[in-house]
Symmetry: C3
Subunit: 336 residues, 3 copies
């Protein structure tokens, strides 16, 4: 694809400062050295690096002195649309590949595609235009809604219900047994997991993420939720609509996340914890108890030079002693 700057200005209802007939051929990062590329900037920090690209998408309050630009209402959104025009889906031939193994009674819509070496077990249902890539396992009793995509190596174990327009990324496993064990007679007795998984519409479950099936009942991932890479959603968890869970995070068993909750990378909500709507956890934060008010929350993970941190580590256990010493001083002075 190629676009002229004039076309871009018109498409996004923008204001062009530069030659309308100039051609750009691809979206690029702001710091690229690529005269055929167009980038976007939302702040001065990135604008300062944007000297080697052919053109820029900018908000109304920014201007470049060296590079032609188009001011638009939402540069990121406009850039996203240019990106969408340049990507290509993973290849997948229409219909069912001859090497795919399809179980008895599986219902596969005639418009769905099933790739090489995919296994669709008995009783599974694939809706219109569903795309199942190589090495996917779609287990017994699973359903996949219209226009959803299972990337290579995605696994739906059993009784996993995926909504419409969802994407299950490579290596993600849905419907795996919950981590539930009880101590009994000198060993861990496994809690059987017989519940299901219900995934709403427009959900992404990213690469190598896991969603455990419920002990009984359902593990629920609401519509519009994004589950990051290498993230785990525990059994019987309920995640509200449009929550965003950044990679490497964990949602504990039976926990409840409100709508639009945002979890930063490597954060965790432990078991049986309820988090209110619109709570935002910073990266690496652990919610060990419930959070009932919306707002931003954080832990104490920040990196500091090792030597300084070691001193703090040594003094922290003596914090109680310090409080007592100050109290004693206060009493002494009061007494005089």
């Amino acid at each position: 694809v190629t676009w002229t700057l004039g076309e871009i200005a018109e498409r996004f209802d923008g204001r062009l400062v530069g030659p309308a007939e100039q051609v750009v051929r691809r979206p690029v990062p702001a710091d690229a050295q690529d005269p055929g590329g167009i980038a976007f900037c939302e702040n001065r920090r990135y604008l300062a690096k944007a000297t080697g690209v052919g053109a820029l998408l900018l908000p109304g309050h920014l201007a470049s002195e060296t590079v032609p630009y188009v001011q638009v209402a939402d540069p990121r959104a406009a850039f996203s649309r240019l990106l969408a025009g340049t990507g290509r889906p993973l290849p997948l031939a229409p219909g069912i590949h001859p090497t795919a193994v399809v179980g008895e009674g599986a219902e596969i819509d005639t418009s769905a595609s099933v790739g090489a070496y995919a296994v669709v077990e008995r009783g599974a249902v694939l809706g219109p235009r569903v795309r199942v890539h190589p090495f996917c396992y779609v287990g017994e009793g699973c359903t996949v809604g219209a226009d959803s995509v299972l990337h290579p190596h995605a696994v739906l174990c059993q009784d996993v219900h995926v909504g419409q327009r969802c994407v299950v990324h490579p290596g993600a496993v849905l419907g795996v047994d919950g981590f539930g064990f009880a101590w009994e007679a000198g060993g861990w007795r496994k809690m059987p997991h017989v519940g299901d998984v219900r995934i709403g519409d427009d959900v992404d479950v990213c690469a190598l993420a896991g969603v455990q099936r419920a002990t009984c009942g359902s593990t629920v991932v609401g519509p519009g939720v994004k589950v990051g890479d290498l993230t785990l959603v525990g059994h019987n968890a309920r995640i509200g609509a449009h929550a965003l869970i950044a990679p490497m995070s964990g949602v504990g068993g039976s926990s409840v996340l409100g709508e639009r909750v945002v979890m930063g990378a490597q954060s965790v909500v432990t078991d049986h914890v309820t988090v209110a709507d619109d709570v935002r956890l910073a990266a690496r934060t652990a919610a060990l108890r419930g959070i009932s008010r919306p707002g931003a929350y954080s832990g104490l993970p920040t990196a500091a030079p090792l030597e300084r941190q070691q001193r703090v580590r040594a003094l922290l256990p003596r914090l109680g002693e310090l409080f007592e010493r100050v109290r004693r001083l206060e009493k002494l002075l009061e007494a005089r």
Copy 2:
């Protein structure tokens, strides 16, 4: 399946308060709205939510005013047995699927099942009633004991020895190279990993977990151990019997965990660390040094409102200064 409350009371030697002929059809969560369901409660918090189910399993000290119930010695254990009666294994036809690739000299017991698109390499041994699901890789020199199950997409690389009645969950990889590199001549020289992995009986290795093979010798996972999802067990680690390692945790290379050690979610024991029997690490705790006494240990991960946490973060590096200032005040007062 269906049960009458009378049958349930008799089976678990319980005391029924309610109609013996009432029928329940499935185990459900305590807060379900399901008159055909039976749930269990261990405390008043859950009992308060249990108003919509058909019946309850309760301990002797709890009673419901609205829902028929059966008091039993261990409600969780009884519930677990009801669950076990309702689950169904992943489908797998007896024998070796025609698409499975079996290497020369592999020994597969006649009662074992090998699914579609499984690969069993030369010299591998599968014991009685072993179930190998689609897309599993059972590498050279691996052995799998009687009644063990490899879920879809489980990988045993090489020289991995799995005991009896084990479950390797989807996407788990056992016997992968250890992360061992030494700096040499301006780069990282890889330490070859030629050791093996020895997994005891009754072990679960959950979804997307990794167990590294030993540099030489063995990485050992004791009998009855549960390794959580997305957890890594490092090369040459030794994990004692009946340890429970919650999801997203890490056991460092050459570390030694005692028996019945419990690691909470996202916890870590770093390399070359020894942890005593019966130590319990809370979620998100890091054991950077050895722990020689049993008991509960924790880190400092707790979520707090961002603003308050930022203030603490700013003051923490000045903790040493504060100790000095208090010491000075104490001396001043002493001197007067």
Copy 3:
């Protein structure tokens, strides 16, 4: 293989204390009970445990009183070379397995091997002596350099360029979509990811690790880098040559790691953060901001007995109050 101690001393230019004709048959851990084994020790702690092996590799400043030994310049390096002589690669027949599915226009060098149930999509290129194991997916537009190995269940999605002598370990997924979403009209709009992944020579991407493709442009992993198991490299990240990223760590989107950066286990560098050459992050450290000076950095994760830690947790939020109380005392004393 077997070696005499005389052969070993000669091969590593070492000094033998013991019988030259004694035979050892395998490298073993220092604490093994194995008279046919040879181990290495770098310090007295391990030497003290090394009483049951047949022989030892030691540095010049160590000597054993009970076990024959060879003093060499670098015992670990020598041991590594013995290990290399005993390992065996995963089995893989030459050529393309009849069950492999190869897309139109894929270029596979005649010396490359492709295993059972591997998929190589159209337009992919495999160089000389490349080894692709069962269940690997090599996507459209991917290239794999000479002598690189893709272990079973490795996934290269699309436009992933792997250098020479690289190893992609089991379950690793490269080129997956970045985790990029923007809030728009009441939901998360997905940022399309159309960029590529560029992996230098001599890189290891360990088991179950993920590398996201760039939004546009490239995600870059420099030569000699080691990416640990269950680690995530975010979209558009750039990792300098010879960085070592221990398992379960995360490198955020658009972050830049300098050369030879070492990240300990479960550490994280969040999005858009720049870390200088030769920075070392301790295990479990979070770099939430850029680090411009080389050196060692740490967080505050250490395990402590739960009761003590709970007291510190309760007092930490009152740290500001304590500073104020001390300031007040100082003023009072000054005033007198």
